[in-house]
Amino acid sequence: MTAAALTVPGGAQSLSNGAMLFRAQGLHKSFGGVRAVRDISLTIPTGSVFAIIGPNGAGKSTLLNLMSGIYQPDAGKMVFDEIDMIGIPSHRRVRCGLARTFQKIRLFKQLSVLDNVIAGFHTHHDISAWQYVLHGAAFRRDHARCRNEAASLLAFVGLEKRAQVLAGSLSYGEQRMLEIARALATGPRLLMVDEPAAGLNAAEVDALLDRISVLRQRGVTVVVVEHNMDLVMKVADRILVMDYGQYLFEGSPAEVQANPAVIAAYLGADFQ
């Protein structure tokens, strides 16, 4: 089952089918009079890399929070894998196959790197209740399985040598990768990463890009919220551009680069 956390059965085929893994329509979210997200709709094809970009305050993180279930929208519809997500709290969405990382890194800093990843297997323990008390054979098998899979996930993000280190003492770039490994431990079909490249140097960004590509190959759909234009242009299949909480444009990287409204609002002189 080692590779199962990273492979989605039938994932590659779904891409060619164009099946939509995630659909949202007319999402609205306000906070006490501030309209953070206004009338956002999107569809994410299975097995693609979908990016959400926009200037600061555009509502990207709020949108991600709506998608992952931390906030419930004031209005709108959301369907993941044909399951209605409205009203479903965030921890239940994980069981459906939605995982995420956070803009502000939220690791369990007092736990080791390995233990952080193992925590991600919460929804995948297949043992009966009394095993938790008596620690029988099934318990030991599960324990060993989790450790092995965690090790392979750490290898996937390049942290295998740091398994026993306290998560809090990792470098910023390493912590980001650990968060991704931990989110992958939940065995997601859709992984949402919130500003993964923030604070990473060029080499780390390249490594991140590479990992996202591999994830796509293995059939994991990835949603990336990002500022870093390089990352997004290189790896995304489709990009949604937001501004002031609203839809600005959606298209392929080439289309986004060429769109005058996007350039005006966001890219400006930065990107030629």
Binding site: F31, G32, S61, N65, I70, F102, K104
Partner: protein
């Protein structure tokens, strides 16, 4: 019957305004620090004892003793912030300062118990025995004094918060400490100021509660549980809410005493508290605080 209701109503407001004084301190501290000081109760008790000793042992004037209690309270607030809250501010565990204040509270209460003993002190003031009669109702001058002093203090505090620079700075710090800091406000100094004001209020409340309550080392505890209830019902950090809630609890207390059973007061108040928490955890009157993710 109407007289009784009115009488108890006024009694309720008297007690309620004292609760407001105590609860305001708690809510102000929570507003800036997002921390609860469990030892707040004991500042009230110590204020009461300070006032007692000033009047009955040193023979001082009762009104002056209120000022003395205020100073004692302020000093204790300064000490607690300097030695407990400030050092713990940067630890990530938000329960630790709370637990530390529980430790301080246990320490203070039992030290007072060792010094003063469990037998209640009779705290009489020159005003406790003068009675005014209005429209068939009886009020001691003490009650009038309490209402006057409390109202004046609360009014001053309210004006301070709304209209002065320091007051606005305090509110800024409670809303967003980092940004306030970037605006040139020193959050640490303001937090200290808040503590001192809050504890001074507690001390004052103690001085005025002393004659009204049974004065033992646990006097503060009997008030604090209601103060917590008030702060929650009114909303942590919400000054207007605390005032309304405090008066409400005072009224509930006096009507429960009159029409039900004094022993049930705590149960009624806490049941109301639990009900509030069940329905609106951020208080009946407060706005919701969204957590930033």
């Amino acid at each position: 019957m109407l007289t009784v209701i009115l009488q108890q109503g006024i009694n309720g407001i008297v007690v309620g305004s004292l609760y407001v004084l105590v609860a305001l301190g708690l809510t102000l501290v929570y507003g800036v620090l997002v921390q609860i000081n469990f030892a707040h109760a004991d500042i009230v008790t110590l204020g009461a004892f300070a006032a007692y000793f000033f009047t009955h042992v040193l023979g001082g004037n009762y009104l002056a003793s209120i000022a003395v209690a205020l100073v004692v309270g302020a000093a204790l607030g300064w000490l607690m912030n300097a030695f407990i809250f400030a050092p713990l501010r940067n630890r990530s565990n938000e329960l630790l300062p709370l637990i530390a204040t529980i430790g301080v509270s246990i320490m203070l209460q039992n030290t007072m118990l060792a010094w003063f003993g469990p037998i209640p002190f009779a705290f009489d003031t020159p005003y406790s025995n003068d009675v005014i009669r209005v429209a068939g109702m009886f009020f001691t001058v003490q009650s009038v004094l309490i209402i006057v002093v409390s109202t004046a203090t609360i009014g001053l505090l309210y004006a301070f918060m709304k209209f002065t620079f320091l007051g606005k700075a305090l509110r800024a710090v409670s809303q967003d400490r980092e940004t306030a800091g970037l605006m040139g406000i020193n959050p640490n100094q303001l937090i200290m100021l808040t503590f001192v004001i809050a504890s001074a209020l507690a001390g004052m409340g103690g001085a005025m509660l002393g004659p009204v309550l049974v004065l033992t080392p646990f006097a503060g505890t009997s008030v604090i549980v209601k103060a917590f209830a008030i702060v929650i019902i009114g909303g942590f950090g919400n000054v207007e809410g605390t005032i309304i809630a405090g008066l409400l609890v005072g009224l509930i207390e006096s009507y429960t005493t009159q029409f039900l059973d004094p022993g049930l007061i705590d149960i009624v108040v806490f049941a109301l508290l639990l009900l509030t928490l069940a329905l609106r955890p951020t208080g009946l009157i407060a706005e919701k605080r969204e957590e930033n993710v």
